[in-house]
Every structure is written in C-alpha cells, then in structure tokens.
C-alpha cells in the first residue's frame, strides 16, 4: 500500500482543499484570492524570504522531531515549549559567559543546550515514572512556569543586560557562533546541516537500533514490550529525556546563527508549532521536514499578505485546515484503496469459480 497515491495524494488533496476553503474566506472578506496566492508564492523569490523560510523551518523541524520522539512512545510531550525555552535561556547565559576556542565553544554550547533541555524534561519524566503524574498536565504547568524562570534569569539583577528597552542575556562571543551560509541576499543558518544530521540520526535510531526498536515496541504495546524485556518506565524516562534533549536544540539555530542572545522579546510558541509539524509529518523525519517547510512558508506568507492588505489570519486558518484535511485525506484514500481491494478480491473469486478451497488458501489475509 505504499504506492505514490497513498503517500502523495492525501497531502496534495489537503492543500487543494485548504486553498479552496481559504479562497472562500478571502472572497468573503473582499480580497482577491488569486492575488493573495500570487503574493504568497511570489514572496519566495524576493529578497531573502526563501532562505528565511528554510531557516525558520529548521527551527520547526527540530521542534517537530522533539515532539515526534515522544509520540513514538505514546508520550504526549506538550512540554517541548517549556523545554526549549528553558534550554535557550540557560544556554544563552552560559554560552555568553564562556570563553573558549572556536569549535570547542560551539560544542560546549550545544552540550549545555541538550543537557538543559533534558533537565527540564526530567521533571515530567520523573513525576510520571515515580508518581504516575500525567505528562500532559505536568508539561502544561511547566510550560507556563518557564516564563517565570526566563523572566527571573534574564532580569538585569541576575544575568540580563538591558539595551534600550529590551533585556537579553550577554551576547555569545564570536567563537561560540555557527557561521551562516550566504545564499543570494540571505544567509542560511549553519545549523541547517546539524538539524539534517539530527533528523538522520533520529531515523537511524528508530529503525536500525535496538534502542529504537524498544522505544517503538513500548509505544505500541507496553505489555508486549514488557514481556519482551523492555522496561516501560525506563523507556518513558529515556524517551522523555531524548525528546527534551532535542527540544533543547530548538532555539540554537537562531541563538547561534542570528540573535546571539536570548531575551524578553525572543520568540515563543515554537514548541506548540512542533506538535502540529510532527503530526503533519506523521512522525517520519522526511515528513516532518516537509511539514516544517510548509509551515514556515505559511508563516512567512502572513507577512507578505499584509502588503496587499489581506488579513494574515488567512495563513493561520490555512494551517489549521491543512493539518485537519491532510489526515482526513489520508483516511479517505485509505478507505478508497480498501474498497478497491475488496472489489478486486470479489472479482478474483467470481473468476475462480466457486471452489471452496480457493478461498484464501493461506488461511488468513
């Protein structure tokens, strides 16, 4: 069942559906859909938008991967949001304070990022494993609490530096930055390569290693995994920590490639976007990459839509519609295939003449 139809048709159908639906919304609000879509596509070829889109997609990709690791194990890590912000502030502070030679500085920063992401993920993980606290509640709470932690740490009394009306951590020295790759008028984050590497590692871990097998097994059936010698609690702990570790990297492309400090105006919500992206990509690294690109593209479109006075909520609506219609399209295509299959069997049977034993020689299926 892995024909191009089952794989590619649904997303295409979904996008078409989303386009039609938003066109209706656009017409109601008195805008010209063609012009709007033209602008959305056209922006890609203007200035550095295409590069910016990929840059943003990198961030979404990491976030999506972090969420997906949890999903593999049936853990709903809503907490990527909190974990990445916690890691971002801690890493920015430590990275800004460190003075190390070039490559080592970067490596040290990345280690801190992963470790601090894990640390924040350890709270729900330990609560779940030892106390049975639902990770959904605990991460919702921790997502909020991280706001306080960031505010506390970035306070000028602690580690913050005020510039104008903004407060941010000290800038990370040149040695700790990851140089970008100039493309056209923009600059691609050097982190794109690292993200791709992480995606590959994710795929390899999941499909080729014993650990990945155990992870998926306990995600699919805790009981069967336990009987197969997989300790579900340990897997929960590790999956959550891994998820947190990757979440810790979410802010790094921007921190090490563009902003160099983390402050009160730094962007939030990447973690929540990650959920949508992971779901859109069906937890597959390549799917997540496509989902991230699509998402980033739509986000970027919002900015360009304003130029032609089209309300940019259209982009949000489109995102919602796409998420929903992709999955619906998958289901519809699946059902269609199933029905076709059933017909095929029926015809084959009729053709075979009604010999009792010709019916499913193999017993099942």
């Amino acid at each position: 069942m892995s024909s191009w139809r089952t794989r590619l048709l649904p997303p295409l159908l979904a996008i078409v559906f989303a386009v039609i639906l938003t066109a209706i919304a656009l017409i109601i609000s008195g805008a010209d859909p063609l012009q709007a879509y033209g602008t959305m596509i056209g922006q890609l070829f203007k200035g550095s938008t295409a590069v910016d889109t990929v840059n943003l997609a990198t961030v979404y990709y990491l976030s999506g991967l972090a969420v997906a690791i949890g999903f593999q194990m049936n853990l709903f890590n809503i907490g990527v949001e909190g974990q990445y912000r916690f890691a971002a502030i801690v890493t920015a502070i430590i990275g800004g304070a460190l003075q190390l030679p070039p490559v080592i500085h970067v490596i040290a920063i990345l280690i801190v990022a992963v470790a601090s992401g894990m640390l924040y993920a350890a709270i729900p993980a330990v609560l779940k494993v030892t106390r049975g606290v639902s990770e959904v509640i605990s991460t919702i709470m921790l997502n909020a609490i991280v706001g306080g932690i960031v505010a506390f740490l970035v306070n000028a009394d602690q580690f913050g530096v005020q510039t104008g009306n903004n407060i941010a951590t000290r800038e990370i020295a040149e040695t700790g930055r990851i140089p970008g790759i100039p493309i056209g008028s923009g600059e691609l984050f050097g982190f794109v390569l690292i993200a791709a590497l992480i995606g590959a590692a994710y795929w390899f871990m999941l499909n080729r290693t014993r650990f990945g097998f155990e992870l998926k097994a306990s995600g699919e059936s805790t009981t069967a995994a336990a009987a197969g010698g997989v300790n579900a609690k340990k897997m929960t702990l590790i999956a959550m920590l891994l998820s947190g570790g990757v979440a810790g990297l979410v802010a790094m492309p921007e921190l090490l490639g563009r902003d160099f400090s983390y402050g009160i105006t730094s962007t939030q919500m990447y973690g929540f976007t990650g959920i949508a992206v992971a779901l859109l990509g069906r937890n597959h690294p390549a799917g997540i990459a496509l989902g991230a690109l699509l998402w980033a593209f739509l986000d970027r479109s919002a900015v360009s839509l304003e130029q032609i006075n089209v309300s940019k909520e259209i982009a949000t609506i489109m995102q919602g519609v796409i998420v929903l219609s992709v999955v619906i399209a998958y289901e519809i295509v699946r059902r269609a295939e199933l029905a076709a299959e059933q017909h095929r069997v029926g015809r084959a049977l009729a053709g075979n003449g009604r010999k009792g034993s010709s019916v499913s020689e193999g017993g099942a299926v």
Partner: protein, 424 residues
C-alpha cells in the same frame, strides 16, 4: 457431586484478590471532607502567619472568578473524554466562544451572547467530531488543528466584523455584562463573622462570603453544571450510553448503542461548554470584551484540571478550584500570601505524615518529613519569593499536589481510541 455444589461456595473465589465488599465513601462526602480539611489548614496558616488574605472574601471571590473558565473547559473535556474522544481542542473552542459571546452580546444582550458562545464552541466540537468520529482522525491531530482554526477563524471574524465597530481588529466594542447578585443578608452576617477573626469560623465565613457575593447568573450556571453533568452522565440512560462509548464502543455498538451519534452529541456538548468557558471571559463584569489571545492557554489548564480530577465532575471541580484559588491568591495577595500558602503546605504535609505513620507507611512518611522540612526551610529563610515566579503559583501548586497525592488515574478505557463500526 453436582457442579453446583462445587461452584457455589467458590464463585467469589475465582477472582484472585478477593476484594472485601468495601464501604465506599460517597464522592460528595469525600469532597466535603477534603474541602473542610483544606479550609482548616488554610485557617491555621492564616492564623499563624497573620496573612488573612489566605481566606479572605476577596480571595475566594477572585478564585471563583478565575476558576470559572477553567471549570467550564474541564467539564467540556469531561463530556468529550467520557465518550472516548480526547479533546485538546478545548482552547480553540474556547476562543470561538469568546468571539461568539462578544458578537452575540453586542447585538442581543448577555443571554444572546451566552447562547452564541455556546453555539460557536459547539461548532468547534462538531468539527472535532466530524474529524475524529467520521474520519477517524487521530484525536490529538484534530485537536491541534482545531486550536489553530479556532484562533484563525476568531481573528478573521473579528477583523471582518469588529473592526468597523471598534476600530480595532483585535478587540470587540464594549459589550453588555451579566448583572451580579449577592445574598446580601447572608453576606452581612458572614462578613461580621469574618471580622471576628476566630480561627476556622472566620476563615470559613470569609470563603463562603466570597462565593456568594456578586455572583453572576453565568457563575451559577457553571457551578450547577457540575452536579448536572454528574447526574446526566451517571444517572440517566443517555449518560450510560455515552460513557459506554468511552469504555468499550464495540460492546456498546453490539448492544444497539449508536456510538457515532453519542460521540457526536458528546462533542457538541463538550464544545458548547468550552464555548461557555469563553463566554465567562467576556461576559462577566470586569472581564474583557472579545480580545485577541485573551484565553491565554486556559483551555489547556482546563484539560489538566479534568485529568487532575480523574475524569470525574467532583474531581475536576476540585482541580479548577485549586488552580483558581492559587491564582487568585497570588494576584490578590502577592508574595506574602504565597509564602503563607507555603506555610499551609507544611501543615498539610504534617497531617499527611501523621496519617502515613498511622498506616505504617514508613517511606512515605519519611519523604513527607523531608518535603515538609524543605518547604519550611524555604518559608523560614525567605521574606519574599522571587516576584517573577509568583504569577505561576497556581502552576507550581498543581504540580506539587500531583506529585504528593498518589495518582490512581483512571481514564475511560477507550479514550482516544479510533473506532469504526464493524471493525473490531
């Protein structure tokens, strides 16, 4: 030897752990005991620390107010998940509700606003039902999509409809609010009691007083919906059927229950309740009108309150109340009040330790002692908590309570399971 002879003395014994027919304490009684215990602890803390915000009328009033949207969302979650549909789209439905409330109230008064909010929320619920029930979409995917759609659609509609009225695409024009009612007669007596500053009695009076002053009809409806939800879900045939869809839809279908229909109805109710939660942000005096981003993740908190409450109406009331109280306390009382709450936590832990000692649970009591010691150390060494963290008191409290309380969570068995008729 007849089989009956062999079997009858042992029928109870065929299940291994023979459960003695334990006397169940009714839920409402348990709730009441917990409530009184909480008030008692707060009373002592308030007396010992001299911070009477802990149990003041104002705090209780605020807590009720802040708990309301959370409570309604949690009820929405309850209805959905009892029917087996995970609803993390509550936030989106709530946002739709805020828009509907403002729009309805602007054109037709508060009641029209409330109805519009319910209808808009219910539309969100309906969409969730179409996706999850008819198209078997993963419930979380659909929920995430609905959160996005709710936000996008509300913004879009606000832009379209409210901008000409308010000049602001992010805000509605001012809309009418619910009148409030007070049991004046009772509340006078209670405030006298509160002023007497007698331990416990004054505290209880303060809290009660807060709950009966300036109460809007919406508040009463929301509170009433807790027992109503219980009665409908657990005491009617419709409720039984609905719950059976969340426990074992295949069995339900095999008994002639229309699982799809019940899930649809449950989702519509769920969305309506979440929408009503949105209305409680818009239509209560002192609240906003429609304002972009005003829900501020309360939908998620509502979901958490429902899980906290173990998928039971009484429990989620407790969860919402706890959150509302802690939030109200930090807003109304600031750092000192939160510190006093810490003191209360120490007392509560002491009580728990005593109980555990009585039950001979040595490890648990040891842990309790350590926890209490740590909290007391924080209390003792700090005059003021970091002001940046105080706004998150409610979140901390929820986490701590969850970590301390032993978790016997019991979600509906088929919660989140995809069900298709004829495919078992």
């Amino acid at each position: 030897m007849t089989t009956a002879d062999v079997l009858s003395p042992n029928t109870g014994g065929t299940t291994m752990p023979v459960k003695p027919p334990k006397r169940r304490i009714p839920g409402w009684l348990k709730g009441a005991i917990w409530g009184l215990l909480a008030v008692g602890v707060l009373a002592i803390a308030s007396y010992a620390t001299g911070v009477n915000t802990l149990t003041s009328t104002n705090t209780a009033h605020t807590a009720l107010r802040l708990a309301l949207p959370i409570l309604l969302c949690a009820l929405g979650g309850l209805w959905a998940e009892r029917a087996g549909v995970i609803n993390i789209g509550l936030e989106g439905m709530m946002i739709l509700g805020t828009w509907g409330a403002a729009w309805g109230a602007y054109h037709g008064g508060v009641w029209a606003g409330l109805i519009a909010a319910v209808v808009f929320g219910a539309l969100g619920g309906l969409l969730h039902a179409v996706a999850t029930v008819t198209f078997n979409v993963n419930h979380i995917v659909s929920g995430v999509a609905i959160n996005l759609l709710g936000l996008g659609v509300a913004k879009y509609l606000a832009n379209l409809v409210f901008t000409p009225l308010s000049g602001n695409p992010r805000q509605s024009p001012p809309v009418p609010k619910f009148d409030t009612y007070s049991a004046t007669f009772l509340s006078d007596w209670l405030s006298d009691l509160e002023k007497m500053q007698r331990v416990f009695i004054s505290d209880l009076a303060g809290i009660l007083n807060g709950l009966i002053t300036e109460v809007a009809p919406l508040t009463m409806i929301a509170i009433a919906l807790v027992p109503i939800s219980y009665l409908v879900l657990w005491r009617t045939r419709f409720g039984l059927r609905l719950r059976s869809c969340g426990e074992n839809p295949v069995a339900a279908e095999s008994l002639g229950v229309n699982v799809y229909l019940h899930k649809y109805v449950a989702m519509i109710i769920s969305g309506g309740l979440a929408g009503m939660g949105g209305a409680s942000l818009v239509l209560l005096a002192g609240g906003a009108d429609y304002l972009e981003n005003q829900t501020n993740n309360r939908g998620y908190i509502g979901l958490a309150a429902m899980i906290f409450g173990n998928w039971r109406p009484g429990g989620l009331l407790g969860g919402a109340a706890l959150f509302g109280y802690a939030d109200g306390l930090q807003l109304a009382g600031g750092g000192t009040a939160v510190l006093a709450l810490l003191y209360g936590a120490v007392i509560l832990l002491a009580v728990i330790v005593a109980v555990q000692l009585f039950r001979r649970q040595w490890i648990a009591s040891a842990l309790g002692v350590v926890g209490a010691g740590a909290l007391y150390a924080i209390y003792w060494t700090n005059d003021d908590l970091p002001s940046d963290l105080i706004p998150y008191t409610a979140h901390f409290v929820t986490l701590i309570v969850l970590a301390v309380a032993s978790q016997r969570l019991r979600p509906p068995k088929a919660d989140g399971a995809l069900y298709r008729r004829g495919e078992d």
